[in-house]
């Protein structure tokens, strides 16, 4: 305990109002995915909804994979971001249905993945372009990569291996 620190406070954050929703969304745009730190939770489509309920904010999250170890960290970060911004005891809800889909990743999210060196999910069939040199001459090495959401590929032109964000 240092001098000047408050022991207790009667300030417990302001009550959320309906006007706070856009601000809450922009806060969520600043919370990055723990495993791919260049895309936000909004880019990934993990934040499904933000509501205003009984003076509290309620954030609805849909996990990407059943066993994704980042799920708990994401919850912690969302809570922390909201509390730091002054929203006391936000309410978090995990929603399983509809199941998360890679189609929910935004255009901005796809561009950010690509810039980071991860090939974004490709809904149409055909070769996966190399995120380094854009060559279409690539091949899968393994259906499973460094995290549950990625597969491992390699480029036959620039010879670089790369991660591909799987379609689910």
């Amino acid at each position: 305990m240092h001098a000047g620190e408050l022991i207790a406070s009667d300030w417990c954050g302001h009550r959320a109002k309906a006007e706070d929703l856009p601000k809450a969304w922009s806060l969520m745009e600043q919370v990055m995915d723990p495993e791919v730190p260049v895309v936000s939770l909004v880019d990934l489509g993990i934040v499904r909804d933000i509501l205003f309920q009984d003076g509290r904010l309620k954030v609805v999250l849909t996990p990407t994979y059943s066993g994704c170890p980042a799920t708990e960290v994401i919850e912690q970060r969302v809570r922390q971001a909201l509390e730091c911004a002054g929203y006391a005891t936000p309410y978090l809800e995990q929603r399983l249905a509809p199941a998360w889909s890679s189609q929910w990743i935004t255009e901005q999210g796809r561009q950010r993945l690509l810039d980071y060196g991860i090939a974004p999910p490709q809904e149409k069939s055909g070769p996966v372009p190399c995120p380094q040199c854009a060559s279409l001459d690539t091949e899968p090495v393994s259906e499973f990569g460094s995290t549950a959401c990625k597969a491992l590929y390699r480029c036959l032109r620039c010879k670089e291996p790369f991660d591909y964000f799987k379609c689910i």
Partner: protein
């Protein structure tokens, strides 16, 4: 058994088979034949343990006796586990690991398809999510069946041996129990007979392409995973998996 008990029993069947398969796969951490396979096996294992958590959390909610998913997984004895006999079999050589995984993945895939439109909304939600992941699992294990079955004479021989050894545990994968029939009538799942036919078709078509011989249908024998009568292999697996939770009950970190 009343209807709630039957639902819980079903949730445990789904959760326990995923949990035990996940645990078996995690035993290979640091021991897989190549780095890509290691990543794949751990990813599949992780998906399955995550799915098991979803099933067991829902089972705990319906049980409503103060136990949570962790307690169900880590403090339940062998005879209360409802997993398939197939998935508790040891990893053996890589042929056995591949064949076990393929037979389970095919069963799991069709089972989840049958739950997609369950009258129970939570069951449908968990199944829909899991199905996306299991589609990948089945594709991967089918590819290994083809690659090793239709590989060299030696790899073919080992795959056939593994298939012949594990096939006897498929009896419960291709038999509809009275309980499942009741669950079907209650709207929990689609027609279990159709799921089994689909399982058989998938397995047959992959085995034919893998140039492996389909063994004759497995006979009933006195053990049954879904009834809690397990082989000698489940006990040591659980002893290992549950040792920490039993040594330090309710530990938190």
């Amino acid at each position: 058994m009343n209807q709630t008990d039957e639902l819980i029993d079903y949730l445990l069947q789904m959760g326990d088979s995923a949990m035990i398969t996940g645990q078996r796969l995690c035993e290979l951490c640091g021991h897989a034949p190549s780095i890509e396979e290691e990543l794949a096996l751990m990813n599949v294992g992780l998906d399955l343990v995550g799915q098991a958590r979803n099933w067991l959390e829902y089972a705990a909610e319906r049980l409503n006796d103060g136990r949570d998913a962790d307690r169900l997984a880590f403090l339940r004895g062998e005879h209360l586990y409802r997993n398939l006999l197939l998935v508790e079999q040891p990893n053996g050589d890589y042929a056995q690991t591949c064949v076990r995984q393929f037979l389970y993945d095919a069963w799991h895939f069709h089972r989840l398809q049958g739950l997609q439109h369950s009258s129970d909304k939570m069951v449908a939600a968990i199944a829909n999510k899991a199905l996306k992941e299991v589609t990948y699992h089945l594709r991967r294990s089918s590819e290994w069946m083809l690659r090793l079955g239709d590989g060299t004479d030696y790899s073919h021989q080992r795959m056939q041996k593994a298939l012949d050894q594990l096939w006897r545990f498929t009896h419960e994968l291709c038999t509809v129990s009275e309980r499942e029939q009741r669950q079907y009538q209650a709207g929990l799942c689609s027609d279990p007979q159709q799921q089994l036919n689909a399982w058989r078709e998938t397995v047959e078509s992959v085995l034919v392409r893998a140039t492996l011989n389909l063994p004759p249908p497995a006979h009933y024998f006195y053990l049954s995973g879904i009834e809690g009568r397990h082989t000698e292999n489940l006990g040591p697996l659980l002893a290992n998996m549950q040792s920490l939770a039993r040594a330090y009950p309710d530990a938190r970190w």
